[in-house]
Each structure stands twice: as C-alpha cells, then as structure tokens.
C-alpha cells in the first residue's frame, strides 16, 4: 500500500491533462492505496460550480467529481492561496473539499510515497 497524491495544477480546459489525470484517480481507486487529490493554481477552476462544456464538445468534470470519494479518494484538498488569487471562495466549489493553506499541502506532500502531477 502506498500513499499517492494526485497534484492537479493545470486549468481544466485547454489541454487534456486534467481530464486524463482524473481518469487515473478513478482507476487507482480499484487498488489498495491511500489516495489524496490536491487542487492548486489554475486547477481550482476544475472544481467550479456551474461549468457548461456543451459547446466545447467535451464531457466536463462536473458529473465525475462527486464520485471521487466513492472511488477511494477520500482526501480532497484545495489550496486557499490559489482560490484567493482567482477571487474564488468555498461557495464556488461544486463538491465537498477541505480548503487548506500551502503549508498544510507541503506537509501532506512530505508524507507521500508518490506524487503524480497533472
């Protein structure tokens, strides 16, 4: 068993990293690992309420994000500084998350066996 952190830093749209990163979380949920997802920098937009990707021709995150916990990813952290810098607050976020500061994320990083960046 390993402690694995998915470190999401890229914007949700404009490239496929965020989406394929989410697919990794869903598959890893089938294995016996301790999973944590962190959203910081532009990745905080992935969690924003009211996203409509219909005109982009892509599936979007909003249907998938709520099942992260069911797939074994019980820790979902959002970096407070990234939210502040983008004028976002807890009210903008579509799923239950813990909002923590950069230092708390750094401490959690130090405990991980593996960090996968997306």
């Amino acid at each position: 068993m390993a402690k694995i952190m998915f470190l999401n830093r890229k914007a949700p749209h404009g490239s496929i990293y965020a989406w394929e990163g989410l697919e990794v979380v869903l598959i890893f949920g089938a294995f016996d690992n301790e999973l944590a997802a962190v959203y910081m920098d532009d990745a905080v937009f992935s969690l924003k309420k009211g996203q409509d990707t219909s005109e982009l021709g892509i599936k979007g995150f909003i249907q998938t994000l709520p099942v992260l916990e069911d797939y074994g990813c019980e820790t979902i952290l959002v970096e407070k500084e990234s939210l502040d810098a983008r004028g976002m607050t807890a009210d903008d976020i579509a799923i239950p998350v813990q909002i923590v500061d950069a230092e708390a994320i750094a401490n959690l990083m130090a405990e991980q066996d593996v960090i996968l960046p997306f």
Partner: protein, 118 residues
C-alpha cells in the same frame, strides 16, 4: 534503487521524452533498476512504430525500443492509446499496451516514481 518512470509528453514536441530517456540511461549506468516506463497522455506516441524522423535527428521510438531490448518494461496506457489511434500493431517491438493498473503497481513497487511532463 528501483525507479519507475512516467512519461506524459509525446516525442519531439516537448523535451520530456528526451529527458526521461537520458535520465534512465544515467540511472542504469549508476546501477539502478528501472521498474518500468509508463507512457500516458500524448506520451503513448513515444513508441509509435510508423515514426520516421529525418536521418540526422534522433529516432525516439527506436531509442525506446532498444532500451526495451535491454529488459526495460515499456508500457503504453491502453486508454490513452485508444483515444489517439495507437493499437498493438502500431507500437515498437519491446513495448506493450496495458492498463493504468500497471502504473498503480509501479507506484507501490518502485522506490521512486519520477514523472517527466511539460
């Protein structure tokens, strides 16, 4: 040390694949074991067998295949490959297509997982 390598970028467009290759060469020269190389996102194109770069340029797919011949397990993610039109007939010898479970295994079995991305 047992090292797992994750490659998230395709060949030529970004340096990640070159850096991964050079890192593996150097690590092996120092006596480390490469647990495997997992190609994800556009990384799946690294072992595209129809690749034919100009003769005075490095042949990235051939280079990987030669590394595979030395016993390094080269794994192409099936989901990322399908999305991009890569199938078992279109990958280099000494590489194989498999699932994200292999990446999960690499996370638990390797001493370190190193990611090469953009």
């Amino acid at each position: 040390m047992k090292i797992g390598v994750l490659v998230q970028e395709g060949p030529y467009n970004h340096e990640a694949s070159d850096s991964a290759y050079k890192f593996i060469e150097a690590a092996m020269a120092k006596g480390h074991t490469i647990q495997g190389v997992f190609f994800y996102d556009d990384g799946v194109y690294n072992v595209a067998s129809k690749m034919e770069p100009p003769q005075d340029d490095r042949h990235i797919a051939k280079r990987w295949s030669e590394l595979g011949a030395k016993g390094v397990d080269l794994i192409v993610c099936v989901a990322a490959a399908k999305r991009r039109g890569i199938n078992p007939d279109l990958i280099m010898p000494n590489s194989r297509i498999s699932g994200l479970g292999q990446l999960s295994e690499m996370c638990t079995e390797a001493d370190r997982l190193i990611t090469f991305g953009d």
